[in-house]
Amino acid sequence: MSARAMPRWADVTLVPLISLILAFALSALVILAIGEDPVRATQLMVTGALGSTYGWGYTLYYTTNFLFTGLAVSIAFQARLFNIGGEGQAMLGGLGVALVALFIPWPNWWMAMIAALAASALAGAAWAAIPAWLQARRGSHIVITTIMFNFIAFSLLNYILSHVLRPPTSMDPATARFDSTLRLPRLADILEPFGIEFSRSGPANVTLFVALAACVLVWALLWRTRLGFEIRAFGESHPAAHYAGISGVRIIMVAMLISGALAGMMAVNSVMGGPQRLVMNAVEGAGFIGIAVALMGRSHPIGIIPAALLFGFLFQGGSELAIETRIPREMIVIIQALVIMFTGALDNMVRRPLEALFLAFRGRS
């Protein structure tokens, strides 16, 4: 009954929208409770994130990260696997980017970028491969193993940055700056030939287009190829997929490798496109925000784009808020938590009354 109780448009738009409104309403209450004005906070966030090309430069930079991690969580969700390890996979992706950028003298940025995309995807996929194999072959719960791998990745990166890649003259655990030829073209450089003025400070760069292309590719993979069909079939029903001759081990491995690769590729944006060196917190929680993005976007590449943009806006708006008001940056962690709660865990709370409403209307007509 649940699938047909509501028209499809309502399922993909109304349910997430109502969940989002609930999450924002509760966030507004939190802001009220700490003695600030939610209306003014919203205005500050909108002008800070969307009111200038400077703001857009940051909003779209964060959006790029969330597109990758949102896609990563989504493709695993499609196979009914919960990959909480995006954070660790993206850390390893950063390591791949740093190795490629530091040790190979690239003649220009685009060759370096292609190599960095490949290296980060490979590193991210490798980090996802062990939990995937353990789930597929040994039945170890992938949620727990990917959580554990996040912590192991943190320690590994911490070791490599403080003992191996840190320049001898520096104190903080980070690599040296990459060569300036590897600087990725920012939106200002890309839009200049078209006569569009764009702030030079915003770090949004050419990786944004790679992320959007990844959305199209993931869509094509999931809905236009045999492998995609197998992934979705496996996600719908493991026994049915098994009877159809689909190998569960293969689907788990493939879905998780693609998921890890996508999470890893985020690092091209946040390492090469951003600070131009690998620092400890290059991921900034984007791996976890991917969960919220995937849930809001209904694990569909088309849904991912607005969801990633929304979180990009929240992330940038949240930093502006911390400067202008007494609301700390962590406010967006609360919003993120509430979005995950309402769109993920409390889905039925929104869905059941809506379904009843639609059934009542249908009954009358």
Binding site: T145, F151, I152, S155, Y159, A337, M341
Partner: protein, 321 residues
Amino acid sequence: MDIATLVQILDSTLRLATPLLFACLAGLVSERAGIFDIGLEGKLLIAAFFSAAYAHYSGSAWVGLGVGVLASVVFALVHGVASITFRGNQLISGVAINFLAAGMTVVVAQSWFRQGGRTPSLPSEARFQRLDLPFAEALRDVPVLGPVYSQILSGHSLLVYLGLAMVPAVWYGLYRTRFGLRLRAVGENPAAVDTAGVSVVRLRYMAVIIAGVLCGIGGAYLATSLSAGFVKDMSAGRGFIALAAMIFAKWRPWHALGAVMLFGMLEAIANRFPNVDLGIIVLPGQFMAALPYILTVVILAGFVGRAIPPRAGGAPYVKER
């Protein structure tokens, strides 16, 4: 390594294992009833903040403990409503609870105290005092027993002993009472419990609330015993190490004690020595920090004693109509 260092490490093992123990037993009770709980971290954190804040306002560690437990139970009930009443995804709910706590503690701490997401340092009256066990002074000079009793076991806060007492209590509750039998049954085969006329929903809520209380004590211990006040993200992954310990112990209370002692000792060693020199190789501190997680993955992989979770874990129960 001399005896004095060993005694010191074992002493801090006990202190560092206590928050893990509370959280681990909390996860154990919840998962034995079929409710996955990856929100242990969040509950520890929210309890740590509220206990520190109210210990600061009232000047009493006990008031802090009470409010901390209350906050943790509220979060546990949110998890319960999402995963029992609305049959939502328990893992996603747990993730949400962790983020909610991470965000809330800093936002509220900043609003109340304006110290960058921390509470003011607690004076010693507002913390749990160290407790000397009877005859600790008299036995100090007895060989072997002296250091073990007077220096390792004695001189901790009351909550350390409460934690140790919780192990037999949880064991007794789970294995020697009717409630415990039903609780374990509801995690293995809820339909059978339902058929016997016992409410699955009520049992699972009970388990979730017990988990909330235990995490609450663990969080209060972090802020009012182990440290003197709350700092941002002070749970520092302990909820996940506790989760690891629970799997390591294969969901059994006495083994949980062993597991948290092992993980507590790893932390104590890592605190004492930045790098561990084994003679052949030197283990960096980062490796020591990652060791609990690596051990858990090895255990989960089932190469050394397979860990099998309760059968109905993670699945919402739908009554037949």
